[in-house]
């Protein structure tokens, strides 16, 4: 297992390298630049800006510089200066030197902020929203799918699957405002907008306090974002459990005299969840990266807005950083799925 994980981490580096190359190429192939305005800026200002951000260098050199800043760690005797150029995501004091790693560069939209600032302040909020939405999707989806399968072709099945269809077909942009109006404004159960956790975050991701305040804010947007995925999980769980219940070993379990509830819990559930676990990786990545509409709807200070505007504004470092980070999340999510998979199914051994 250890060797397998090591191999996957090397593969991760390759993925990140390829993704960075493609993104870099595409983003410079698209016409337009970061300092195009309706009313054009004076040429000498543009020249200065280009020089300031090294945009006047040949592309290959810019790319090399980017990789160097992001991937190659620095050891230096001086502590971080807090300046835009000396902002590393990871800084550790080792004895009397500083280990600094991952400088994702400045953002063109602000003179004093860096991409790392966005990663520190906005990204965790999006990640929290994505994780909560995944939990909602699992907590709603799995029981619904199990119920529908066990009560196949009964009112429960139809009801459950109708909820599932509702979940996939009503987009956040409708569901969100509806929820805000009903549960936020009219019933006043939840604050209509905002997010309960503020930076700095524990381990760069988690809220410092996971109390009622966090959940009061998180529940509505998480449900709005996760409901569609819960529908996917419900349908897959249903199909998978129905399939499993037809397996020979289920008949064996019944022939041994097991109570039907035990047949389901002990012999069917674990097997039927194996395919469901497989999609959790991509689903999680889709949720974390697909938070834009939810964030805008619920006024959540997350990553989505920066990512979308960075593309229209050709804010190259933000585009690069975000895409690399999303790729990282996707690969790690899939790795976690593979590990869970091996735990669920003893036939699978990685080595």
């Amino acid at each position: 297992m250890g060797r397998y994980i090591a191999r996957r981490l090397i593969y991760l580096l390759v993925v990140l390298f390829v993704v960075s190359a493609i993104t870099f190429g595409l983003m410079h192939a698209v016409p337009g630049g970061p300092f195009d305005r309706e009313k054009a800026l004076p040429p000498e200002i543009i020249e200065n800006l280009n020089k300031r951000y090294h945009l006047d260098e040949p592309l290959l050199m810019q790319y090399g510089r980017y990789l160097y800043d992001v991937f190659i760690p620095r050891i230096s005797a001086t502590p971080p200066q807090g300046s835009v150029d000396d902002d590393f995501l990871i800084t550790v004091k080792l004895g009397n030197v500083w280990f600094k790693w991952m400088n994702f560069g400045p953002t063109y939209s602000s003179r004093s902020r860096t991409v790392n600032d966005i990663f520190r302040q906005q990204l965790p909020v999006s990640a929290q929203l994505g994780i909560m939405a995944l939990l909602v999707a699992i907590i709603i989806g799995m029981p619904l799918g199990i119920l529908a399968a066990l009560k196949q072709n009964t009112i429960f099945d139809y009801l459950g699957m109708s909820v599932a269809i509702f979940g996939v077909s009503v987009p956040v942009i409708i569901l969100g405002p509806l929820m805000i109006w009903i549960f936020g404004v009219t019933l006043k159960w939840f604050p209509p907008t905002g997010w309960g956790a503020k930076p700095p975050f524990v381990l760069g991701i988690f809220p410092r306090e996971l109390g009622p305040e966090f959940f009061r804010y998180a529940i509505m947007p998480s449900v709005a974002l996760g409901l569609g995925s819960s529908a996917i999980i419900a349908r897959l769980t249903r199909a998978s459990l129905l399939q499993t219940m037809r397996e020979d070993y289920i008949r064996t379990a019944r022939a041994k005299g097991l109570r039907e509830s035990l047949v389901i819990v002990r012999h069917a559930l674990k097997n039927s969840l194996i395919p469901v676990v497989t999609i959790l990786g991509p689903l999680f990545a889709a949720l974390v990266t697909g938070t834009f509409v939810t964030e805008v709807t619920f006024g959540i200070p997350g990553m989505g807005r920066y990512f979308v505007t960075s593309i229209t504004n050709r804010d190259y470092p933000v585009i690069m950083g975000t895409i690399l980070l999303y790729a990282l999340i996707l690969v790690i999510a899939n790795l976690v799925v593979d590990i869970v998979y091996a735990y669920l199914d003893p036939r699978i051994r990685y080595d």
């Binding site: 064996t252 022939a255 005299g257 109570r259 012999h267 674990k270």
Partner: protein, 328 residues
């Protein structure tokens, strides 16, 4: 000998898109204490459905037992509550299935699965049950039984898995073991080993056996009596020696005629007789074997023959005396 299980007029149907499949059409037989009853017949003739109906393991829908009785210890298995039949399954009547590959749960250890009947029927603790499971595995010839409890099914070979399956079925020392083609998926040498194992266990534990197979060759050395099935009916039933000495139904004669000799090729073929097996979408009012029968007479096409006694302990469902060629 006293009768342990008496099946009478068992009828099982499946509702399918094409129509109602009449899989078992009024099957009656009995099983005596300590006896081994063979059920033979070609694929699809209703062997599995018959025994699964008795234990109420028919998937429903689409399947349904529409008539009949299966009396065990004075009670009808087909009428008792779910809870009652549950206490009989695996404790007093247990089953071994054909495919040792798919019949085990791939994500549970062999120990858990073999010990499970003891936990639910005997109220043993997990630990006690596992100890007993190791003994049982050793008894069916699994080397290092104790260490192998923690292995998963895929870590066993096909033959070993079928031994484990037998251990699992016999762990509560049932009165009846139903074996549904337990050796069909195995190669010939392993088949022979499994059959020897079952014979040995039968002598040690004294259970009665219903052994289902395609292969009349296996039955000869194992069974006391044989029931031959065709198209959802039992069409001949006799003591094993009598059946081999005086096969009477044209279908049985065909089966024995096409019985391949082991020494020629080393492999047994599955039975094959000219013509197609019957379509089960109707309950025929003629002899179901008539379309393939060399002996058929007019009457065969108008009336389905019931089982008739032709000798002590020997019944046949056929209008024609195949020895003389005359109608009965």
């Amino acid at each position: 000998m006293t009768e342990l299980l008496t099946v009478e007029g068992l009828e099982t149907q499946f509702r399918t898109r094409e129509g109602t499949v009449h899989a078992v059409n009024g099957v009656s037989f009995s099983l005596r204490e300590g006896e081994t009853l063979g059920i033979v017949g070609e694929s699809g003739c209703g062997k599995s459905v018959t025994v699964m109906s008795i234990l109420r393991l028919i998937p429903s829908p689409p399947g349904k037992v529409v008539a009949g009785k299966a009396i065990y210890q004075g009670k009808d298995l087909l009428k008792m509550s779910d809870e009652e039949i549950r206490h009989i399954r695996g404790a007093q009547i247990s089953m071994v299935f054909q495919d040792p590959m798919t019949s085990f749960n791939p994500v549970l250890t062999i120990g858990r699965q073999v010990a499970e009947p003891l936990e639910i029927h005997m109220g043993m603790s997990r630990k006690q049950a596992l100890e007993r499971a190791a003994e049982m595995l050793a008894m069916v010839g699994i080397p290092n039984a104790k260490e192998r409890l923690n292995d998963y099914p895929h870590q066993f070979s096909g033959g070993m898995r079928q031994r484990v399956m037998i251990a699992m079925a016999l762990i509560c020392t049932p009165q009846i073991l139903i074996a549904d083609e337990p050796t069909t998926a195995l190669d010939v040498t392993i088949q022979a080993q499994i059959i020897d194992l079952v014979k040995r266990l039968r002598d040690e534990l004294g259970m009665a056996i219903i052994w289902i197979t395609h292969d009349l060759g296996i039955i000869a050395g194992l069974a006391d009596r044989v029931a031959v099935m065709y198209g959802g009916y039992i069409i001949e039933m006799a003591q094993v020696d009598e059946l081999y000495a005086h096969p009477t139904h044209p279908y049985t004669i065909g089966l024995l005629g096409s019985l391949p000799r082991m020494d020629e090729t080393g492999h047994r073929r599955l039975i094959s007789i000219d013509g197609l097996p019957p379509v089960l979408l109707e309950k025929p009012n003629y002899c179901p074997f008539a379309p393939r029968c060399k002996y058929a007479v007019e009457r065969c096409w108008h009336e389905n023959p019931p089982l008739m006694s032709v000798a002590p302990e020997h019944q046949v469902a056929c209008w024609v005396d195949t020895q003389t060629g005359r109608e009965r």
